[in-house]
């Protein structure tokens, strides 16, 4: 029963149970969530490749004369996931094994109803997670509101962390959140005494909290990296790029942080994106290695209580453009990974779907959004943390959660 580790938080309460606030069991702090944001709108139609033979496959290949991923069985061909979808071959040794172990799932036709097709507008609006038809509060991201709800409810203390050099909008808000990029961790230049003096300088300013939190996180990260160095001398760690960052994230999340955020750029492929190999394939390969490295570094126990969700602001045009690339589209594919994905979710392609045909393209251009992201996240949060409708409403106001029974 893979669900039990995540569901232990919920006790006997059903989804959206009346109690909402759950017993403060000792294990209440175990559930961990990492959101990976692919900035630049990755081409989801080459991540999940339509492989159903016949019209769908024909439509995919005729829309993408030079960038279609080859059919399963062909060199660099898609890896079949079910009767309809294949996975990009660059993920053969990283994400595919997780999928086969029922530790990965995909949700196509996911995204936001925001239709600007602007990267920046849509990234902001997703990170804010607020209604589109009202004024926005740019100081309140959805992960920060989740942290607020959890800190006051199911978890006695929640420790959010962005593994980025700027605090992302998703984590801005009232709940305290730290950030630090892990790509290059330098020598500590400010010693303990100086840190104290500087903290005192800021104690009566609005920056007091980030200053204190910054020093605390710096010390944690230094310690984790020191361990990594020590481990490396015994068991040489060769990872680099995103995989190195992902493995560091795992060490920190295993020990210290419950709620993580990281972003990965480089997905805006207007020109020459490639097919089974090429630019996009290389990006996917690096991402896949990172995700698999994260799972491995977490270790079986912590991984069972962890959910990783990979999102992007939107998808791209279904048809390739004049430059063997793709332009801005609408619906995309979300990834959900975790050692405790439910039996009915792990190893599956989930959510509302529609057959791929010209008639079903949104504005004759791209994927429609059938699985609105706030509803999907709401359903996940309800299950992971046993949130009540009132608590969920504080995270995503006015949104009915969609329960995909992910965990």
């Amino acid at each position: 029963m893979q669900r039990r580790h995540l569901l232990k938080l919920m006790g006997a309460a059903p989804l959206a149970g009346a109690a909402g606030r759950l017993m403060a069991a000792p294990a209440a702090g175990n559930a961990k969530l990492l959101v990976v944001f692919l900035r630049g709108a990755y081409d989801c139609a080459n991540l999940l490749v339509p492989i159903a033979s016949g019209t769908t496959d024909d439509f995919y290949r005729s829309a993408r004369p030079t960038i279609a991923v080859p059919r399963p069985g062909q060199p660099n061909g898609a890896l079949p996931l079910d009767a309809h979808w294949g996975l990009h071959p660059a993920l053969a040794t990283s994400v595919m094994p997780l999928f086969q172990k029922q530790q990965a799932a995909f949700i196509p036709f996911a995204g936001t109803d925001d239709l600007t097709r602007s990267h920046f507008e849509t990234q902001d609006s997703i990170e804010l997670g607020q209604a589109l038809d009202r004024g926005r509060d740019y100081r309140s991201g959805f992960l920060n509101r989740l942290a607020g709800v959890l800190g006051a409810g199911p978890l006695t203390a929640v420790s959010p962390m962005a593994f980025t050099d700027q605090l992302p909008i998703a984590l801005r808000g009232d709940a305290k959140a730290a950030n630090m990029a892990l790509g290059s961790v330098g020598r500590q230049a400010i010693d303990a005494r100086q840190s104290k003096v500087i903290e005192a300088m800021y104690r009566n300013t609005k920056l007091a909290q980030p200053v204190v939190e910054g020093f605390a996180v710096r010390d944690e990260v230094q310690r984790a990296v020191k361990e990594e160095m020590e481990a490396a001398s015994r068991n040489a760690m060769t990872s680099k790029g995103f995989e190195l960052i992902a493995r560091r994230m795992a060490r920190l999340m295993r020990e210290r942080f419950d709620l993580g955020f990281v972003d990965v750029g480089g997905w805006d492929t207007h020109v020459g994106q490639g097919a089974g190999t090429g630019y996009l394939a290389n990006r996917l390969e690096e991402l896949g290695r990172g995700v698999a490295g994260f799972a491995e570094e977490m270790g079986d126990d912590a991984w069972r209580d962890t959910v990783v969700v990979v999102i992007s602001e939107f998808g791209r045009t279904f048809r390739e453009n004049g430059n063997k690339g793709t332009d801005h589209g609408h619906g995309t594919v979300y990834w959900v990974l975790g050692g405790g994905l439910a039996a009915q979710a792990g190893g599956r392609v989930l959510g509302e779907q529609v057959e791929l045909s010209q008639a079903n393209l949104f504005q004759n251009r791209d994927y429609p959004v059938l699985n609105e992201y706030r509803a999907v996240f709401g359903g996940l949060f309800a299950r992971m943390y046993g949130l009540s409708p009132a608590q969920l409403d504080r995270v995503f106001a006015g949104v009915a959660p969609r329960d995909l029974r992910l965990v």
Binding site: R117, D165, M180
Partner: protein, 526 residues
């Protein structure tokens, strides 16, 4: 301060628009209205002068403070808004003059590099090929490093401080990223010929100059945009980020129509003396080449187009300019640009009243940037905001070095560029076309603060690295600046908060004192 008012002679702006490119922004007598700031008549005290300096320049220094005191705030501001060409201090100018990007026109540079790239690819021996490709990449890296160094030297020492700040602002507004393609070879010229000359000029000229620059056309893929092979990338960002602003009323159909307008607008790396490509005479008339810029009629979609509800009537490049006129003069553009300027210079959430007044000036002056800025500088909102705008990393690093070393010219800008990189705002390094955010919430995170304190220590305890010309040479002694001796610091001390003064009193060494001062909450703001 008394009520303030913008004083911009709008009467002669019509004439100005025609001559702006030929020196309109050089000041009085050139035909352009001189943008001036209306200031209170009472003399301003030293503390107020420091506040203005910290906002209008890249950071207060004793030398600039003396310059401002000598000229008086009003005349100094007029000079800032209407800069005349001015040399850098000799030691800085010599560094700039020695750079390849200063000596070689960009078209020569790019064409030669393209030849080098092709020659490398054609080598039969794999090892030789690898070495030649590496040499090509290293040359590109060296050129973009030169551009960074030149920017830093100008920001530190140019008397035209406002022009330098505006150059950064527009580089950010019209952001390109050097990691793409051969942009490392183009970036210096993009800044020097497309951005800086128009930084305080007319917005329409600036917009037109960015559209005609190969850096922009490459970065946003318009060099690939051709009839029946549409690439929407540039068209979208042109409306969303450069002019109208997202949500201002244009549609997906407008994006597609503008992309069609922009077909054929591209880049050529053919030798400058090579004849134009052969094409039908009717089309050949429309062919345009200027440097690396090329409008190729064979790639252009000559069909009828509608943009923002009105047809486009011109043809060829005239069509493109018609579209730019429409975008540059749209009321949404005046509001969008004015707001962004106010965010940069006044407050993260500028008052709508201020933005409206700036937009009004912008519209009435046909997009005169200095005029819109003059309205802003004259406003009570601006005076009230002094000292309260959080420094982004570039401001923070440059202000620290200006304060620490005044007009003593650094010999090695690499450490400073490294500090800027560490804080996450590398020059020409923002990946996406939106540019870096300009607000405190983006830069005041926990991780950022810790990094800033480390940089405060680097400047305060080890700043002599800026004067070490090669890595082998020993650092001079002492290796830190005499911050406590600086006139600007002494003038600022009484204004520091009690907690900051207590920290300074806790310092155990001059290096410690410098570090705490540079790490203080007051130094985070401008």
């Amino acid at each position: 301060m008394t009520t303030l008012r913008a004083a911009v002679g709008l009467g002669v702006l019509g004439a100005c628009a025609l001559v702006l490119l030929t020196g309109c922004s050089t000041g009085p007598g050139s035909g352009r209205a001189v943008a001036t700031v209306t200031l209170p008549v009472a003399p301003v005290d030293e503390a107020t002068r420091l506040l203005w300096l910290n906002r209008v320049s890249w950071g207060a220094s004793t030398a600039t403070e003396a310059q401002l005191t000598r000229r008086g705030l009003g005349p100094w501001m007029r000079e800032q808004l209407n800069p005349r060409p001015a040399a850098l201090p000799t030691a800085a100018q010599a560094q700039v003059d020695g750079m390849t990007i200063s000596r070689t026109p960009v078209d020569q540079l790019a064409i030669a590099l393209e030849a080098q790239r092709k020659a490398a690819d054609a080598l039969p021996d794999e090892d030789q090929k690898k070495a030649a490709r590496q040499a090509y990449q290293q040359e590109l890296n060296r050129l973009s490093r030169e551009a960074q160094q030149r920017f830093v030297l100008r920001a530190l020492y140019s008397p035209n401080q406002l022009q330098e700040q505006m150059t950064w602002f527009w580089m950010n507004h019209f952001n390109v990223n050097v990691r793409k393609d051969n942009l490392r070879a183009l970036i210096g010229d993009y800044e020097d010929s497309a951005i800086r000359p128009h930084a305080l000029g007319r917005f329409r000229d600036l917009l037109g100059a960015t559209l005609r620059h190969p850096a922009m056309l490459r970065y946003l893929d318009n060099a690939q945009n051709a009839a029946n092979r549409i690439n929407e990338n540039y068209a979208r960002e042109l409306m969303e980020l450069h002019t109208l602003g997202v949500g201002s009323g244009y549609s997906q159909a407008d994006v597609q129509e503008l992309a069609r307008v922009l077909t054929g607008v591209g880049v050529t790396l053919r030798a400058t003396d090579e004849p134009a490509p052969r094409m039908r005479p009717a089309l050949a008339e429309d062919y345009v080449r200027r440097g690396l810029f090329e409008f190729n009629p064979q790639r252009h979609d000559y069909g009828g187009k509608t943009l923002l509800g009105r047809p486009i009537t011109g043809h060829g490049m005239a069509e493109v300019d018609e579209a730019l006129d429409r975008l540059a003069r749209a009321p949404a553009t005046a509001r969008f640009i004015s707001r962004k300027l106010a965010v940069y210079f006044v407050a993260d959430e500028p008052s709508q009243v201020l933005v409206d007044r700036m937009a009004d000036t912008f519209t009435r002056s046909d997009g005169d940037i200095a005029a819109a800025l003059a309205t802003m500088f004259s406003s009570p909102e601006f005076s009230a905001s002094l000292g309260h705008k959080f420094r982004d990393p570039v401001h923070y690093a440059l202000a620290g070095v200006r304060l620490a070393y005044d007009d003593r010219v650094v010999k090695n800008t690499a450490p400073l560029i490294g500090w800027i990189n560490r804080m996450g705002e590398p020059l020409y390094g923002h990946e996406t076309p939106d540019g870096y955010p300009l607000t405190q919430s983006a830069w005041a995170s926990a991780g950022q603060m810790t990094t800033r304190f480390e940089i405060a220590r680097a400047i305060g305890a080890n700043g002599a690295v800026l004067f070490r010309t090669d890595d082998g040479a020993p650092l001079e002694r002492p290796a830190f600046p005499a911050l406590a001796e600086s006139g600007a610091v002494r003038a600022a001390l009484p204004g520091l908060g009690a907690d900051t003064r207590a920290a300074l009193a806790d310092a155990r060494s001059p290096q410690d004192w410098n570090t705490f001062l540079l790490a203080s909450p007051e130094l985070m703001n401008r």
